[in-house]
């Protein structure tokens, strides 16, 4: 299978995604320029983190109009997997491929730190290799990561098992203290209705080797590889 890693002007997680997929997991991966409109060579599309178009105006607001995003929407319609990480999650929300929005952190500061994610749903193609409730150690790095949706949307997400990950303590307890940005219901990642699009604020490509403090992010990639 082949991963396509989208590069917008201002994207910086592209290289880390490539490193973890190609160098660590031995997968076929390639960069996809934001002007590309043909995604047929790829089995999974990655929208990496960074500051696409400087995140001027609003995070992800300009990137959603990139030519590649029409192709990503088509890709999604075919039910193929798309994963948006950090800025990629923001872009997916702006493009309405995922519901809700990522607002400024409640403390109004950038945060780069380890977080512990409780796997809420291990039957998605992104989490199939996780045990139910497994806690993954994966870092965040963002200023706008506070997940927000209206009450109806939130209820729908919760009722249909579409919350993939929640910020938790290392022991897996979902507490206010474990929430690094004020996200509603400690939400760190969600999937779309069809279950083929995942958006998450933490960076699995950063926890790809023990020497970096954690290799838990690989479980997400391995789930995708096994799921296709």
């Amino acid at each position: 299978m082949k991963f396509g890693i989208v590069v917008f002007p201002g994207t910086w997680s592209d290289r880390d995604c490539y490193y973890s997929l190609h160098n660590i997991l031995g997968q076929d991966a390639a960069y996809v320029w934001h002007k590309e409109t043909n995604l047929s060579p790829y089995d999974c599309i990655v929208l990496p983190g960074g500051f696409s178009y400087g995140d001027y105006l609003r995070t992800g607001a300009i990137a959603r109009f990139s030519p590649v995003m029409d192709a990503v929407a088509e890709f999604d319609k075919k039910g193929k997997p798309v994963i948006g990480i950090c800025n990629g999650f923001q872009v997916l929300c702006e493009a309405h491929l995922l519901p809700g929005v990522l607002r400024q952190n409640d403390h109004l500061e950038y945060r780069c730190q380890w977080t512990y994610l409780k796997t809420e749903n291990n039957s998605t193609i992104f989490t199939g290799k996780c045990r139910r409730g497994q806690v993954l150690k994966i870092p965040i790095s963002h200023y706008e990561g506070r997940y927000y949706a209206d009450d109806d949307t939130l209820k729908k997400l919760e009722d249909t098992g579409r919350v993939a990950f929640r910020y938790a303590t290392p022991g897996g307890e979902v507490t206010r203290e474990a929430n690094p940005n004020g996200a509603l219901n400690n939400i760190a990642g969600i999937i779309n209705e069809r279950g083929n699009v995942l958006g998450m604020m933490p960076h699995p490509e950063r926890s790809c080797e023990d020497v970096l403090g954690s290799a838990d992010g690989n479980i997400i990639w391995e789930s995708i590889i096994a799921g296709i």
């Binding site: 997680s13 995140d55 950038y110 780069c112 490509e205």
Partner: protein, 731 residues
């Protein structure tokens, strides 16, 4: 036409310097030429007061590929065809006037120095000094600077792995904001900052040119502050998104054979970029400023030539390849315009359409005078170097716990996580030891190697004794490097001093450089790059002489790296080095906190220092140590407490008191490292210490939840942690 004093003041040239220009040119300079001289002959670009002193530094070594001044940053060879380049630079004055943009563009500038050479920037560090945060204006500066570093740096995708932050009253009118950037690349792919080859094309790439940053180099960085408001236009405004595009585009370009050189527009903008590149290439240049894209209307050639608008690069394209270069930048949605060409005659010609506004030899423009002033030891040094211990009451045993908590919570010692967590320190998939340990450690992908990074510089020690302070700045950086298990490779530095035209400031500068030189030579660590920031004064009050040393070390096998927190229960804790005597209280954190004085000189035996460091490095390389932490601010008790806090484990042991109790606990005697080892390895550590002729004292064991120094301190680690963790937040 005689020149007015006002005109010369504006560009910070003296009448004698003007006369020298007239003599060298054989005529009066044109207005644009004069502006260019002002910039190039400023201290900031020309190092006219510091150059003679900087020549003392050792600059060669078996790993050194590029020495200071040869390119934008120094470069070392780390083997396997890979190289590392790094440099530190100050942005003190802009950060005082406009803290967010000043600090942001400081990051932008140092990053450009690195990728200009074809190296991918992968790590940043910052060394910051502020006045006490109890004063609202200092708090404003602090918040702005940290925000600017985070706002700009995070956007670039370069890991900011920390650095250091200190507070002292002397920095109130003049904060220090030093930024270090490190890049990695291949030895066979380096780009030079030179314009050569007659007919090759000079292209200006990136942002448009505006009126921001006029007289940044000559006016701002080379003078003291009188009235800051009028200088606001001398501060530039950064666009990190543009910088990120420039990084990617320029690194792509560095992989082609379409160019002969690349240079960033930093201080003094186009003037220094073009003239320095032409000088290095022994060439001339012929450019037309009317081809320079402008941000605003009505800019004069003078303004275009000295504007410090950010995110601009000069690319010297091989003749015939200019369209390929342009296409590459177009793809990254960046402007690139041909503004002139390289000539062979060594003359700098600047045109404004049909009119020649500059016609002067490159060598004359780029050869500022070098001054050697008469240093004078200030009389007040005698007073502050004398510390009469008889007049200072020793601490009562029952007060020691309280003092430890106070020191841990003090702004210079407490955790700086509230700052570092705002910096993206993990992007790049390289960061092994995060900010907060003695040194940051980053691994080198696709090898087993890693490197350490650290910045250090104690202004207080230098204020009391500039020579010893200089020695310690280098020694402490090396000690922190050793504590990570790395062998020091090279240093960069930022020398933050007052007005060098004052004899006593010049004395401080000279003595400090002498001290640093001695330490570098004894420890065999070359200086590969650096920057001098002088005129750090406001209303005649100079900052402490503050040399900041940035050091990079190499770890052969990342498996054998080390950090400062204890790792497990039941480990044995040793002190490598000797117990502290009363003199170690000199200029210490404790002395200021408990007795309100900055007095007394520290001592260091650099030979002993070298043995201690070698012993620790070897012990880590052999896998004998589980932690290593340097005793610095706050002394042995603070070092032990920090290892407990960072490792989330207790300690029970004893401390040897010879003479004063306060010195034994809180004295800052040099050349000491607290290490922990599992009991099985203890014997091998003792043997190693003996072999290296290094004192080793068993202090106690790790474990439990209590921090106990028998007879004196008995506190839960959670209380230590609380004090330390919240120190900055409660400051």
């Amino acid at each position: 036409m005689p020149v007015s004093k006002e005109t010369l003041d504006e560009i910070a040239l003296s009448q004698r310097e003007y006369d020298l220009i007239v003599e060298k040119l054989g005529r009066e300079p044109t207005p644009v030429e004069l502006g260019m001289f002002g910039s190039l002959w400023s201290e900031h670009c020309g190092y006219k007061y510091s150059k003679a002193l900087l020549r003392m530094f050792p600059v060669t070594g078996k790993h050194v590929l590029v020495k200071p001044g040869e390119e934008n940053a120094g470069i070392i060879d780390i083997g396997d065809g890979q190289v590392i380049g790094f440099k530190m630079e100050s942005h003190n004055h802009p950060s005082y006037i406009e803290p967010y943009q000043g600090a942001a563009t400081g990051v932008g500038g140092i990053v450009r120095d690195i990728f200009t050479m074809g190296l991918r920037p992968i790590a940043l560090m910052n060394s910051l000094r502020f006045g006490p945060l109890s004063e609202p204006h200092n708090r404003y500066l602090f918040g702005g600077v940290v925000g600017g570093i985070a706002g700009y740096g995070n956007c670039l995708g370069i890991a900011d792995v920390g650095g250091e932050i200190y507070f002292d009253q002397c920095y109130t009118g003049n904060p220090l904001v030093n930024a270090l950037c490190l890049g990695i690349g291949r030895a066979d792919n380096l780009i030079k900052a030179r314009a050569s080859g007659e007919g090759n094309l000079i292209m200006l790439v990136g942002a448009d040119t505006g009126r921001d940053g006029l007289h940044g180099a000559s006016g701002l960085a080379s003078r003291t502050f009188e009235e800051v408001r009028e200088l606001r236009s001398a501060v530039q405004v950064g666009n990190p998104f543009m910088e990120k595009l420039l990084i990617e585009a320029c690194l792509e370009l560095a992989g082609t054979d379409w160019i002969v050189g690349m240079q960033d527009c930093g201080a003094a903008g186009l003037t220094s970029a073009i003239i320095e590149a032409a000088d290095k290439g022994n060439s001339g240049i012929d450019i037309d400023v009317s081809k320079v894209p402008r941000r605003e209307k009505g800019m004069t050639p003078y303004e275009v030539m000295i504007s410090e608008s950010q995110e601009r690069m000069i690319v010297i394209a091989k003749k015939g390849y200019e369209n390929k270069v342009k296409a590459l930048f177009d793809r990254w949605e960046l402007h690139s315009d041909i503004i002139g060409r390289v000539t062979a005659d060594g003359i700098a010609i600047v045109r404004d359409g049909g009119k020649v506004v500059v016609n002067a030899p490159v060598k004359i423009l780029n050869t500022p005078p070098v001054y050697r002033l008469r240093p004078q030891r200030p009389g007040w040094l005698d007073e502050i170097q004398r510390l009469d211990l008889n007049k200072i009451k020793d601490i009562a045993p029952k007060k020691t716990g309280e003092m430890l908590l106070k020191l841990l919570a003090s702004p210079n010692i407490c955790s700086k996580h509230a700052v570092y967590r705002q910096y993206d320190h993990q992007v790049g998939d390289n960061t092994v030891v995060l900010p907060g340990s003695d040194a940051a450690v980053l691994r080198i992908q696709e090898t087993s190697k890693a490197f350490s990074m650290v910045t250090d510089g104690n202004g207080r020690y230098c204020y009391v004794n500039p020579f010893i302070g200089g020695v310690i700045a280098v020694a402490e950086a090396a000690r922190n490097t050793a504590c990570s298990g790395a062998r020091p490779m090279a240093i960069t530095n930022c020398l933050n001093f007052g007005n060098p035209e004052k004899n006593d400031v010049y004395f401080q500068l000279q003595e400090c450089i002498k001290g640093m030189t001695q330490a570098c030579k004894k420890l065999k660590i070359p200086v590969i790059s650096g920057n001098v920031s002088l005129y750090n004064e406001t209303r005649d009050v100079a900052v402490f002489p503050t040399p900041v040393v940035g050091m990079v070390g190499l770890i052969k096998d990342v498996k054998h790296h080390c950090s400062s927190g204890f790792k497990q229960e039941g480990d044995i804790v040793f002190l490598i080095g000797e117990p502290a005597n009363g003199e170690s209280l000199g200029s210490s954190e404790y002395l200021e906190m408990a007795h309100g004085m900055i007095k007394g000189t520290q001592h260091i035996d650099i030979e002993k220092e070298r043995r201690v460091q070698t012993c620790v490095i070897k012990a880590i390389e052999r896998g004998l140590l589980n932690s290593a932490h340097d005793c610095s601010d706050g002394g042995l008790a603070v070092a032990l407490a920090e290892s407990c806090i960072l490792g989330d484990t207790g300690f029970t042991g004893k401390i040897e008191v010879k003479g004063r109790l306060d010195a034994a606990l809180f004295g800052e005697a040099q050349s000491r490292i607290v290490v922990s080892t599992c009991p099985k390895a203890a014997y091998r550590l003792e043997t190693l210490a003996l072999k290296h002729n290094v004192p080793l004292a068993r202090m106690g064991v790790t474990g439990g939840a209590q921090f106990t120094i028998k007879g004196y301190i008995d506190l839960p680690v959670s209380r230590l942690h609380y004090a330390w963790w919240n120190g900055l937040l409660n400051y």
